[in-house]
């Protein structure tokens, strides 16, 4: 199973319209990505909650089509 980088970017931009988003395909295999997301929506949330918000934005793809996403979240 695989997913294109642009699909991830679109979903993240939908979920976090205000955010600075930087997605990287780490291995060039459409399977291992990293994402850095800086959004005001993370304000006052724990790190677990922030990552859960990102997974929600990815609409169930995480752990399925999307095998690996190294995630860094930050408040804006």
């Amino acid at each position: 199973m695989a997913i294109k980088q642009v699909e991830i970017e679109i979903l993240l931009k939908e979920g976090f319209p205000d955010a600075d988003i930087y997605v990287q395909d780490l291995a060039g295999d459409d399977n291992h990505f990293s994402a850095k997301i800086k959004s005001a929506q993370f304000k006052g949330k724990s790190r677990v909650q922030q990552h859960q918000m990102v997974y929600n934005a990815l609409k169930g793809k995480m752990g399925n089509e999307l095998h690996a996403l190294a995630l860094t979240t930050e408040e804006k």
């Binding site: 790190r47 677990v48 990552h51 859960q52 997974y55 169930g60 995480m62 752990g63 399925n64």
Partner: protein
């Protein structure tokens, strides 16, 4: 006992639990290995639960924690996070502070 009760039971009866793919000595996935290595480096006594050996736990833990991936770490019954969070907490010494706070011994 259903899978949810099993998970509840495991996290209540062990201070530190790592739900992982493979075992602490033979991890079957790089992310599980990375977290196991952090816990080992800190000399933390933890219980590794191999989800590859129990399909029910493998599926239920994702619902239970509202977290789509494995590995997952629990400390004193509280969900701490997956690989990225545990590594980041370790690097920023937040994991060590949490262990102090929860009175769990580790190598300083």
């Amino acid at each position: 006992m259903n899978a949810k009760q099993k998970i509840q039971n495991i996290i209540e009866s062990n201070d530190v639990v790592l739900f992982m793919k493979g075992t602490p000595d033979m991890p079957q996935c790089g992310f599980s290995m990375a977290v196991a290595n952090v816990l080992k480096m800190l000399n933390i006594k933890f219980n590794g639960v191999n989800v590859l050996e129990d399909e029910e736990i493998r599926n239920e833990i994702k619902v239970f924690s509202d977290w789509p991936t494995i590995p997952q770490v629990y400390i004193k019954g509280e969900f701490i996070g997956g690989c990225d969070i545990v590594k980041e907490m370790f690097e920023k010494k937040e994991l060590q502070s949490l262990l102090d706070e929860k009175k769990i011994s580790y190598k300083k």
